[in-house]
């Protein structure tokens, strides 16, 4: 299929959620009514000054926005190339970018009179961010999490329970994020009348990819203003990690029409793309339909979804948001992959050189910055989304290095 290059990248998706051939609504009939109800509410409230005012106030006073843009001078000098600027989403309340979206969707749930919130989570950051806003708004909250992820993210499981959420262990399939999503969909289809499903990434059926993106573009809108204020111009390139791709689209989207800004999305290469043990559908997958949308998937020749691997639970997902699929095909963004080992090197580098412990997810973006920066000139600027902090990953990193905490 010929891909049309748009003149305005902000006019997507179309009415039914298509980004070119990607996106759309691929769900069973029972959910169609709920999705159209959600779409109406989303379209209405995104134009509603009172709603947007409330959202802005929460982002400022509860989340702590704007998050800083930090010039990692020492690290930039050490790498000997471009100046690296970090968008500090790790400093948000709950420790990652996820809360930008859960606040938005929970306010929407409240407006739609839904009393019960459900969510899926991989690393637990989205689960924590959901449980947090549910606690604050007094909503019942159920979080689905794969058994494998529960084992590697114990601390986040405990946080969710402290916040009053019920964490349901998912034991089907590969027992990771994709299975948690399946289970959350099953819950939603059963309890569709009183339940609002807060999807944590820019995947799922329309309007989720567009809606989650719109809640996350606060990252890119702030970063664009901040870097112009700090340096007098736009960055030369953007880098963000891509699992489902919400922090990445949040950073990228406000820059899509700035044609001179190069864009890099970084997937998880796990043990290496050639080993098959990775989570890089854009780099090494093919198009298909899963979880309500058409996008790039990790699948076998019969269309079965295959198991993924990444050291980072948040990137361990066989699909990716449909807008990324489209940005790949249109070549507006470049998608690359970073192995577990490379991500760990970057994890240690940022920790030791800048005193910032990054999440393993974000470490993938940082690792690509380590590759790209030295190929650039010192007067050039790289803007990297530091999407979350690494506190949750202490056990994973220690175990990998043979240290018992």
């Amino acid at each position: 299929m010929a891909i049309e290059i748009p003149t305005n990248w902000h006019e997507m998706p179309d009415q039914r959620g298509h980004f070119g051939p990607y996106g759309g609504i691929f769900v069973s009939e029972t959910l169609m009514g709920a999705l159209s109800e959600l779409n109406l509410a989303y379209e209405h409230y995104m134009q509603d000054e009172t709603f947007l005012g409330e959202l802005d106030a929460d982002l400022a006073n509860y989340v702590g926005r704007p998050s800083p843009l930090y010039h990692a001078e020492r690290w930039s000098r050490e790498l000997g190339g471009a100046q690296i600027y970090l968008k500090r989403e790790d400093l948000n309340h709950t420790g990652a970018h996820k809360v930008n979206n859960t606040i938005g969707q929970a306010l929407l749930a409240k407006r739609m009179d839904k009393s019960r919130i459900i969510a899926e989570t991989g690393a637990g950051q989205h689960g924590v961010a959901t449980a947090t806003v549910a606690a604050r708004l007094g909503l019942e909250c159920v979080v689905y999490m794969g058994e494998v992820d529960i084992a590697r993210q114990e601390a986040n499981v405990y946080r969710m329970r402290l916040l009053g959420a019920e964490v349901v262990a998912v034991t089907s399939g590969s027992r990771t994020l994709k299975d948690a999503l399946n289970e959350a969909m099953r819950d939603w289809v059963t309890n569709v009348d009183d339940t609002f499903y807060i999807i944590g990434t820019v995947a799922g059926p329309h309007p989720y990819p567009a809606m989650v993106r719109d809640f996350q573009t606060i990252i890119g809108r702030e970063a664009r203003r901040q870097i112009v204020e700090m340096t007098g111009g736009l960055p030369d390139a953007l880098i963000a990690c891509v699992g489902g791709g919400s922090n990445a689209i949040g950073l990228f989207h406000p820059f899509l029409n700035d044609n001179d800004v190069a864009i890099y999305g970084v997937e998880a290469a796990g043990d290496g793309l050639d080993t098959g043990r990775h989570a890089a559908p854009l780099c090494a997958g093919s198009p298909g339909v899963l979880h309500g949308n058409r996008t790039y998937l990790m699948e076998d020749e019969n269309g079965q979804i295959i198991e993924t691997h990444s050291i980072s639970a948040g990137l361990d997902y066989p699909g990716v948001g449909p807008e990324h699929a489209w940005l790949k095909d249109t070549q507006r963004a470049n998608y690359v992959a970073i192995t577990d080992d490379e991500a760990l090197l970057a994890f240690h580098a940022l920790t030791r050189i800048e005193g910032i412990i990054p999440a393993l997810e974000s470490s993938h973006a940082l690792a690509y910055a380590m590759k790209l920066a030295p190929q650039m000139q010192p007067e050039q600027k790289l803007l990297v989304n530091l999407s979350g902090r690494g506190d949750k990953d202490m056990h994973t990193v220690a175990a990998r290095e043979g240290i018992k905490l």
Partner: protein, 268 residues
């Protein structure tokens, strides 16, 4: 006339309700499927819904999900499923077979290849759970052209305009999902099913099948009074699961259960 339509026309003449059992192709082993299909027909099935195993069956409950996992242990692919239908057709030229599954295996095979090969194998219809009519622009004309009847779900949450849209796209019959939820769940509310079915009848001439939550002869009988067909899935698949490893016992258990359902349906 398609096999599905002539089947329903005949049933209407004899004032009987169609019994449509569902099994997952390749569960619990590929060699079981074709003999089981014949046994279903001998025990009173009018149409067979044959599930295409998929790794991520989002709309299914644990029973059918596990059936798909058992089939996938044997790497049962969509082409293998078509092969099973072709084999079934060697001995049964009359009983309509409808494939039921998720879009991705069809998408990966290619819409046109699927329509052509399914038709050649003797498939009569297809129900793709995660394909609403709105997304069918490309595949539906190919299905119609190759005499594969697309069957769509109608849910308790579907309003009149959606029901219209669904019926316009459907051929063969429409499938009313009798409860909100996944396959194999919940308790049936007969009054609300009756209300909805009569609403659907105002909109379409197509036969109406009802499924989800029918687990024994009594519920089959009750549903049979309201609809043109009853679809039974999890309750059958459960019996296959109980006899894993013993094909003969599985066939016996399923046959005897389907005969009970048949008797329930023929009671009124």
């Amino acid at each position: 006339m398609s096999r599905i339509l002539s089947c329903f026309a005949e049933l209407k003449q004899s004032q009987r309700t169609a019994l449509i059992p569902f099994i997952t192709a390749g569960d619990f082993e590929p060699a079981l499927t074709v003999p089981l299909m014949h046994a279903l027909v001998e025990s009173g099935a009018d149409v067979i819904e044959l599930g295409i195993p998929f790794s991520d069956p989002m709309a299914d409950g644990p029973v059918i999900q596990k059936a798909a996992e058992r089939a996938l242990k044997h790497n049962v692919s969509l082409r293998d499923v078509l092969q099973m239908v072709a084999e079934f057709r060697q001995r049964d030229a009359l009983t309509p077979v409808l494939l039921m599954g998720y879009l991705n295996p069809v998408e990966v095979m290619g819409y046109e290849a699927f329509a052509v090969e399914a038709s050649e194998a003797g498939v009569d219809g297809v129900l793709i759970v995660d394909l609403p009519p709105e997304e069918g622009g490309e595949i539906l004309p190919l299905l119609y052209a190759h005499q594969i009847d697309p069957v769509f779900l109608i849910a308790p949450t579907s309003d009149a305009s959606r029901i219209q849209k669904i019926c316009d796209a459907s051929r063969g019959y429409v499938y009313y999902v009798s409860l909100k939820g996944i396959t194999g769940a919940g308790h049936l509310d007969l009054d609300s099913v009756a209300q909805k079915v009569s609403k659907i009848r105002e909109i379409t001439q197509l036969p109406i099948g009802v499924g989800f939550g029918i687990k024994d002869a009594a519920t089959a009988e009750a549903m049979g009074k309201l609809a043109d067909a009853v679809i039974v899935g999890s309750a059958i698949v459960q019996r296959i699961a109980q006899h894993q490893g013993d094909a003969e016992a599985a066939i016996r258990a399923v046959s005897s259960f389907v005969s009970e359902l048949r008797a329930g349906l023929d009671r009124f």
